[in-house]
């Protein structure tokens, strides 16, 4: 293997061949690429490689350090799981797009300069949208367009920030930037869009549920976590992130409660989980950062697992609307179990992966003395349990029987979910390998009696509340609906505004044009009257009149000169 080849490029370049390979061979090939990437990553030493010059800028395509290796590793693992999950499909577009998308995300993780980051940043946007469009229906097309514009928007904002930064400092190094001026603010916002900051978040809930079965799984892993990586790289310890993150953990919780589409519920949950990481980065102490990074690591796996299980349901049943599901445990028992493993992980039950990382983050926040933030996060933890821990498995697999009967998910999906579930439990039980990868020395023991007890109290009393609510019938029934969110601004308000503006503009323009045309016509009539074939200036003039002109001219000349 070439020494300096960035692992991401293996996937990106490898994607070119995908459409040309026949069935079985293609499957093997798809599986082999992430493995190759992993091998390449494994063989890399820390340092900067694959450097090149363009326009006098030094580009670094391969910067290997602890932070990039953590994210590179998890991205590669996920890419591999995704391939397995998608093996049943025969869609070269999706397969190639997923590869390019994963590769771009991995590529972005390893770059050492902002220009290369921009390149891969945009590449993730372009390649991922195909996973949405691949649903091949009008809704997905529209959602994809919105998604693409927002993602590209993030890219151009990043570009603007990078340019201002380069112009001001002469540096394009992708290192700690800090929120200091307009340039870094733009970069921050660009990251924030991909990270689904509050009010910039809605592309996720909008687009992810419209993607294909496999597409949503792939999408959930990379874009937002790439943003987390970028924030961790460039803005650790930026205080505003704490508040942003805190809000992020809270508000999706409420929307998730009333949401009917379970994949959209998961998107809200994703948003909420990102909040924990953002807070960790914002706190910026070694513990908090470790918490954020490790949380991102395990989160990718369990969120993928949850999306996979919902994807399996969608694949078999054709819908993931809570109001139409229920009782599927009969048909898809394995999927149900895997889903619950994922649910337990995300809810941070002890012995599941979420527990060992979320507690790390919370400890970091608490140790830094952010009391209110800490309380908010604990509150949000209860929220997580509500929408991801209970709502997802309960309404899909239990609740009242919808009468839907189907086959268990395809084998490849089960394998992928099984592997993911295994990882969730493995890391929950034995977090040391993960801790060892983290950029800072970890001196932390998650399994203390106090921790476990507190967490169990929180979770079980919350579950008790759920049980009470269900039994009393207070739990709001799931109803088919559309819930307004910030996307209302660009899906309703903005188009209406534009339509209005264009109507007004057109009216004004028409008015002006009509007036102009009337004036022009009048002028033309005048011109024709005087200059036209029978006009006064073109008519054949009688000799007498001509002579009159002669006399006139002579008179004028004489007068002018005599006076």
């Amino acid at each position: 293997m070439i020494a300096d080849l960035p692992p991401g490029l293996i996937l990106i370049l490898g994607a070119i061949l995908v459409p040309f390979l026949p069935g079985r061979l293609r499957q093997l090939y798809l599986l082999a690429l992430p493995v190759l990437g992993g091998l390449q990553l494994y063989g890399l030493e820390h340092g900067s490689f694959a450097q090149t010059q363009i326009f006098g800028y030094q580009l670094t395509l391969l910067r290997v350090d602890a932070l990039s290796v953590v994210f590179g590793t998890i991205f590669l693992i996920t890419a591999f799981l995704n391939v397995i999950y998608g093996l049943h499909q025969r869609d070269a577009v999706q397969e190639a797009a997923a590869l390019v998308y994963s590769g771009a995300a991995i590529g972005a993780v390893f770059v050492g300069d902002l220009i290369s980051l921009f390149v891969f940043w945009e590449l993730t946007a372009i390649s991922s949208v195909f996973l949405i469009w691949a649903s091949r229906n009008e809704r997905a097309y529209r959602a994809g367009m919105r998604y693409l514009i927002i993602q590209v928007g993030s890219g151009v904002i990043l570009l603007a920030g990078v340019i201002l930064h380069a112009q001001a400092t002469g540096s394009i190094a992708f290192d700690r930037l800090g929120l200091t001026n307009l340039a870094t603010a733009l970069i921050f916002i660009a990251f924030g869009i991909k990270c689904a900051f509050p009010f910039l978040h809605n592309w996720m809930q909008d687009a992810y549920p419209e993607a294909t079965v496999v597409g949503t799984v792939v999408l959930s892993a990379f874009t937002t976590k790439l943003a987390i990586y970028a924030l961790a790289r460039a803005f650790p310890g930026t205080e505003i992130l704490i508040y942003i993150g805190a809000i992020m953990t809270v508000f999706p919780v409420f929307f998730a409660v009333i949401e009917n589409d379970l994949r959209r519920v998961l998107a809200f949950s994703l948003n909420n989980q990102l909040g924990f990481m953002v807070v960790g980065i914002g706190v910026g102490t070694p513990v908090a950062l470790n918490g954020a990074i490790s949380h991102a690591f395990v989160h990718i796996i369990y969120k993928a697992l949850l999306f996979m299980s919902m994807g399996a349901v969608l694949h078999r049943v054709g819908t993931v609307k809570a109001s139409e599901l229920g009782g599927l445990f009969r048909s898809m028992p394995l999927t149900a179990v895997f889903c619950m493993v994922g649910a337990a992980s995300i809810s941070a039950f002890p012995l599941f992966s979420g527990f060992v990382t979320k507690s790390l983050t919370l400890t970091g926040v608490a140790e830094a003395g952010y009391v209110i933030t800490w309380l908010v996060l604990v509150f949000a933890s209860a929220g997580v349990l509500e929408h991801s821990g209970i709502k997802i498995p309960y309404f899909a697999f239990f609740a009242h029987d919808s009468g839907l009967r189907c086959r268990e998910a395809p084998a490849n999906m089960l394998i992928a979910m099984g592997l993911a579930a295994f990882l969730c439990i493995f890391l929950g039980v034995y977090p040391e390998p993960l801790y060892a990868m983290l950029p800072y020395q970890v001196d932390y023991e998650p399994y203390t009696t106090s921790h476990v007890l507190s967490q169990l109290q929180l979770l079980f009393f919350a579950m008790l509340a759920f049980a009470v609510l269900i039994r009393t019938g207070l739990y709001p029934a799931e109803r088919p609906s559309t819930n307004l969110n910030t996307d209302w601004i660009y899906r309703k308000a903005l188009p209406a505004l534009v339509r209005w503006a264009m109507t007004v503009g057109a009216a004004v323009r028409d008015g002006v044009l009509a007036r102009g045309r009337r004036r022009l016509e009048r002028a033309l009539v005048q011109i024709t009257r005087h200059h036209g074939p029978e006009g006064i200036l073109a008519r054949t003039v009688t000799t007498g009149n001509t002579v009159l002109w002669v006399a006139l001219l002579l008179a004028v000349m004489l007068l002018l000169n005599f006076v």
Partner: protein, 493 residues
């Protein structure tokens, strides 16, 4: 020996050939003679100009009477150039004339035609070459009278009225000129232009001189169709035989412009004309109006010949404007345009003559689809039209370049814009023809039309070719025009 008498030969050759033509009676023979005479005149003119450019102005005493008393022929860069233009156009048009005249005029009038043509040529050459004010009037009358005949030969009944009006107007113009010349003689006692130029400055305040100036200006203005004295021109051009239109458009007005130049700059002197009397203030607005109004009128014409006639008035406006500036650049522009317009307008009218020969009409509708059927003719028209518009690589561009430059030198923005707007108006009327010829289908059941004969095409293309060539290689025209302008500005040379 011959070289010494070139100025005389210039006039004598066509003058002598004219009556011979009438005697020959047979059209073909008359044509051949006229052709020979015109070519000889061209040779004379070319040699004269060459001589002038090499060794300076030539003075020639007719009949060996010394200058103040006898008639002096005097050739300098200005009239040498005009001589060349006139002679060249005459020489190019005559080969063309044979077919065209044979087609448009009855056999028995051919000899008359060539006679009149030669007389007209003689007159124009004479006006140009003479250095005597009264002699100038005489030649002017020769050319005018013969051109009335030429126009009246037109087939259209309206040609007669047109010729009549032209006659009346021309006569008034001639009368004015003769009055002006007479007054000058009264004041100075001489008719020789050089002497006049010497004697006039002390008389700057003299009212007689002033009145003479006014009469001369208006008289010449009539002859050169200065707006608003142009009303005779459209009809005259429109109804005259094709050859005549081409010839007159290319030469007659140009010679009149030359006369104006001569009086303003040589006889009265630039100081008197433009500073004391500030004639420029009168001429420039008239020129500007001519450019705008007549170009606009041209747009509305459906008879292409009339369209070009109005265009001519506008183009004369350009020359007058250049003269009115009374600066070296302005004069260069005026004189250049004199030549350039002769080439392009001559070529355009000849192209129309070809159309008339084949189609029998030059109305716009008759031109539909001609681009395919008479490709060479129509393409020459397009090129000539582009030149009229002033597209680069054509002579029209060169003239306009200098004219706008002259306007800018005076910081006169409005006039610069007027000139350019004139170009754009020209674009409109030219493009009406182009669209008709190239993009409108030929009318259903139209007679099959052949390309014009070579005898007509070649002269057309010579003029059009010249209007392209001299738009690219301007060394000759610009060189001569600048020299001429410098001479005129520098006063009596």
């Amino acid at each position: 020996m011959i070289a010494a008498h070139l100025p005389a030969l210039q006039i004598v050759l066509p003058l002598a050939a004219a009556p011979l033509c009438l005697l020959l009676r047979r059209g073909t023979l008359a044509w051949a003679l006229a052709l020979a005479a015109s070519w000889a005149a061209l040779v004379c003119a070319a040699l004269l100009l060459r001589q002038v450019l090499i060794s300076g102005p030539i003075s020639y005493e007719l009949g060996s009477w010394a200058a103040p008393w006898g008639i002096e022929y005097r050739v300098d860069a200005v009239n040498g150039f005009v001589l060349l233009i006139v002679a060249a156009v005459g020489a190019v048009i005559l080969p063309y004339a044979r077919t065209s005249v044979a087609h448009e005029l009855p056999e028995e009038q051919h000899a008359t035609f060539y006679t009149a043509f030669l007389l007209c040529l003689t007159g124009l050459l004479g006006v140009t070459i003479t250095g005597d004010a009264f002699n100038l009037f005489v030649f002017l009358e020769i050319s005018s009278l013969s051109s009335y005949v030429l126009i009246a030969l037109g087939r259209d009944r309206r040609a007669l009225t047109a010729a009549f009006q032209y006659l009346v107007m021309g006569t008034i113009g001639a009368t004015f000129i003769v009055i002006g010349v007479g007054l000058l003689y009264m004041a100075t006692g001489t008719l020789n232009m050089m002497d006049l130029a010497e004697r006039l400055p002390p008389l700057a305040g003299n009212r007689t001189v002033l009145v003479a100036f006014a009469f001369l200006t208006v008289g010449t203005g009539l002859k050169l169709a200065l707006f608003p004295l142009h009303f005779w021109l459209p009809n005259a051009y429109a109804y005259a035989p094709s050859v005549v239109t081409g010839f007159l458009a290319a030469t007659a007005t140009k010679v009149s412009v030359y006369v104006l130049l001569r009086f303003f700059f040589t006889v009265f002197g630039v100081g008197y004309s433009f500073e004391v009397l500030s004639v420029g203030k009168l001429l420039i607005p008239l020129a500007a109006i001519a450019i705008l109004v007549c170009s606009t009128v041209a747009i509305f014409q459906n008879d292409v010949k009339r369209m070009l006639a109005y265009s001519s008035i506008a183009q004369i406006g350009y020359m007058i404007m250049g003269i009115g500036f009374a600066t070296t650049t302005g004069l260069t522009a005026g004189i250049l345009h004199l030549f350039n317009h002769a080439m392009m307008k001559g070529g355009l009218f000849l192209a129309l003559g070809c159309v008339f020969l084949r189609v029998g009409s030059v109305r716009l509708e008759a031109l539909h689809g001609l681009g395919k059927r008479m490709p060479l003719t129509m393409f020459s028209f397009v090129l000539g039209g582009l030149s009229l518009v002033g597209v680069p690589l054509t002579v029209g561009f060169i003239s306009k370049w200098y004219l706008v430059q002259a306007a800018l030198e005076r910081d006169d923005w409005i006039l610069a814009v007027v000139v350019l707007v004139g170009s754009l108006l020209a674009l409109v009327y030219v493009w009406r023809v182009v669209e008709a010829a190239y993009f409108k289908p030929a009318p259903e059941g139209a007679a099959k039309v052949e390309e014009a004969p070579l005898s007509m095409l070649i002269p057309t293309w010579v003029l059009i070719g010249a209007s392209i060539y001299f738009g690219i290689d301007t060394s000759l025209t610009v060189g001569v025009a600048r020299q001429a302008a410098a001479q005129l500005i520098g006063g009596a040379s």
